[in-house]
Amino acid sequence: MRIERQIEKIIQEHLPDLENGQETLDAVLEKFPKLANELRPRLEAALWLRKARFALATRPGYIHDSRKCLEAKIEETQPRGWLGNIFRQYTPQRWVFNIVAPVVIILLLALVINSAVLTARLSIPGDPLYSTKLVLERTRLAFTFDPGDKSNLYMEYSRQRTSEFVELVLDGEYDQLPAATTRLEAEIIASLHALNKISVADATSERPATAGLHDTLSNEIAMLRILQRSSPPSVYANIAQAIQVAQTGLMALR
């Protein structure tokens, strides 16, 4: 065996023990007296290098911190499609955030929309959300295909218009009354048209629908008459017009 190989082997075998202090340099040299002159300087140099390792070690926390930094850089360099961006590997906290954030946003949005719909349903002419209420009613009508149900809806909206009219009078919003009367008239006309369609399609269900509209209009007339008695004289004409509209509808029904 060549001397370099022998010394290399000795260094490899004894260096850890020399470093830990479990063996002394002289004790190792005594085991290899023929190589002592060659071995001593090399073992000393190797020992010095092994000790130098500690002065060249990384500072505490460097590996952990720089790993994160490296992974982030790698993530940045990786080309991804939109699907890849959605399913990319995140930390558990990021995953929780990614799932919770849209759910919270959807819930909040649903809450806001629901509140807006409720507020719109309670609105009267002149309120900011009244147009939304009308849009919602038209939408509901557009998605109601059964003539009987459609007729019922028109009757319901006719009652709503009368209630709005009453509220406007009670709130003193007299300038809105002519427009409210027009809308009431439109609903009554639409109800009558819907009733005509029922009579063409199904004669048996026409009678209860007609009776329903009759009751609705009679109630509206009664309600408006009571309102007329308790209202200031300046709105008599408006209320009288609304009563006339309802009475015209009743006459047309007959």
Binding site: P41, W48, L49, A55, L56, I63, K73
Partner: protein, 185 residues
């Protein structure tokens, strides 16, 4: 070492499929050795940290092309580290790099750093002072073998020499180092 290579193999496979966390695990395993190799030849810790990051980023970019074929991953990394170091020295004046940092031992505001940090800096400068007096191939073999703790086979692959040639080089380099230490004392 075979256990380490097996573990590396699995992590490399995952990293090649684009898993940055697997590459992060490889980084944790091998970065300390790469850092020591670079720090033993550079004037300051910051440069060694920057270059360590650069080495692994280059390794990540070259990973799709990496096929083991008898070259262990550690040797692959050290080759990149060696080339990065050469580039660094080319871009900066090597002598300037190896001169002791005038600020070492003091913060930028002039206040002294903790005693252990100062001690470590002085020790580093001493190591750098001794190693820089050796031939570049002696420096490389000693750093790879005793500071980065590579086996003779791995060192041979990094330095692109036979294992026998590495043994001879190490034998001479250790003697030269001992002489240099005597001269310093």
């Amino acid at each position: 070492m075979p256990a380490r290579q097996d573990n590396d193999r699995e992590l490399i496979r995952r990293a090649q499929r684009g898993d940055p966390h697997a590459f992060g695990d490889l980084y944790v395993t091998h970065a300390p050795a790469i850092f020591r190799y670079l720090f033993a030849q550079l004037g300051n810790c910051m440069d060694a940290e920057d270059l360590t990051g650069e080495v692994f980023l280059k390794a990540w970019q070259s990973l799709p092309k990496y096929m083991e074929r008898g070259v262990p991953f550690l040797a692959f990394l050290f080759r990149i580290a060696h080339n990065t170091l050469v580039d660094h020295f080319r871009q900066n004046n090597r002598l300037e790099q190896q001169a002791p940092d005038e600020m070492d031992g003091y913060h930028e505001d002039g206040t002294p750093e903790p005693v252990d940090t100062v001690g470590k800096l002085l020790e580093h400068q001493k190591i750098l002072g001794v190693l820089s007096k050796l031939r570049p191939d002696y420096q490389s073999v000693l750093t790879l073998r005793f500071i980065s703790e590579l086996s003779p086979e791995e060192t041979a692959r990094v330095m692109k020499r036979s294992v026998g040639a590495i043994r001879v080089l190490q034998h001479r380099a250790l003697a030269a180092l001992r002489d240099e230490l005597d001269e310093k004392q």
